[in-house]
Point group: C2
Chain length 228, copies 2
DNA sequence: CGGAATCTTGAGGCCCGTCAATAACGGTGG
DNA sequence: CCACCGTTATTGACGGGCCTCAAGATTCCG
């Protein structure tokens, strides 16, 4: 069989994912047998609020956004799922529904493990459970950070931090924003118009340089960090 | 020894706390030997940002608030620790520091378990690790909810929800707010002045009745729920 | 190349934060 | 029990940050 870009086997999934790290070879093989695969094209939904949540989802390849929809129709993005990330705390509890949506931002391959299988796995493999505890602990920390920033810092400050993090993650001075302005906006709890305005404001102050509408260069990281 | 209000033994702690539920008697006894106790008076700090985080903290009795301090000096409350709640995802990782503060709102008794002991416990007792995964999963859900509300809903709406939740928790029509306005404010991501104003606004609209400055009665729960 | 989606820019307004002064509360000690 | 003082709450005036609405420019992708 030809090796294609979307050709992922169960073993790939298990190898890729941090929560399965440092498990024994036999454990990994067991897990591989329990995993099912799905592919989603850009724009398709991995799940929607109200869907029954009966499995843990792991992103093997690609990128998806997870967001909630408030009563007034506003979106709030909660996180971007990258390769190796998982979602499904909801899936851990019996009879719970998703309260958020996950939409593929590009073609995305995911692995799923059924709730019951996963619970059994954790019972049999304490290492796995400990890995989960660590991963969830990290996530709690991130969310606490996000909550605090969104309520205490100005949009300009949040945007500056976002730019710094993004460029650091991509590890290059000139970088392309990986998201549309609308998505950046819901991530930072604001609107596309405001993002647009603040970006030109930062450029005018000489902290960043605008190469194209979604390509930027950090000019003065120190000042970006100090925006109130 | 006389039985005093603050007279809690290690067994009490283990019995009280959900994450130790459905463990075997011998497991619980083992845990009891690993636990140390501390008492804090109202206003004292259980820990502060920057402190080394080397143990998991469990509230055996009392109430404490956990909050972060933003760069500009603003507080953001993250949660209230009640009897049976624990904090310390930070404590799960080696060499990590607390990034938040915990202050006792009343006299509070806590149990602590050393990080290494707790990690070992989870390895030996998969049940415990699974309980932790469930507790952290629930917490992730709460935080996602808090993030979404704080960015998408108006202060009036957030306050209305807070009143509904609080009265539901206390299970009585007339209820006393368990927090000072300043604390409610940092919890909802606003200011005491705004809380004050919104409360009188809600009263003026006939949705609540103000009995005293911190005693209220819900008059129209349906309308409270529908505030945009 | 053409249409749709995204982005930009402007004008206007409102929610809410800030500052400040007064009032109410709560605990303490005489 | 009351006077006292620090903390907390209330109310007003004001301003600013950001959202909304709308129109035009640009980009994207088939």
């Amino acid at each position: 069989m030809a090796k294609l870009a979307h050709d992922h086997t169960a073993e790939d999934c298990v190898e890729l994912v941090p929560i399965f790290e440092n498990l024994s070879k036999t454990d990994k093989e067991t897990i591989a047998t329990l995993v099912t695969h799905h592919h989603y094209k850009s724009g398709e939904y991995l799940f929607s609020a109200g869907d029954g949540a009966d499995s843990l989802i792991i992103v093997a390849h690609g990128q998806s956004k997870v967001f909630q929809m408030a009563a007034n129709g506003k979106e709030q993005m909660l996180r971007i799922l990258q390769t190796g990330d998982f979602d499904g705390e909801a899936a851990l509890f019996s009879n719970s529904d998703h309260n958020s949506y996950a939409e593929a931002l590009m073609d995305t391959a995911v692995c799923q493990i059924n709730r019951q299988d996963f619970q059994k796995l954790m019972q049999q493999t304490p290492e796995l459970a400990v890995n989960m505890v660590n991963a969830l602990g990290r996530r709690v920390g991130q969310l606490e950070q996000q909550t605090t920033e969104v309520t205490t810092a100005s949009v300009e400050s949040r945007l500056a931090n976002y730019l710094l993090e993004t460029s650091a993650g991509l590890d290059q001075a000139v970088f392309t924003l990986p998201l549309k302005k609308k998505d950046i906006a819901t991530y930072l709890g604001t609107t596309p118009e405001t993002i647009s305005r603040k970006l030109t404001a930062l450029a005018k102050k000489g902290m960043i340089e605008k190469i194209s509408n979604n390509k930027f260069k950090i000019l003065d990281a120190d000042r970006l960090m100090m925006i109130d």
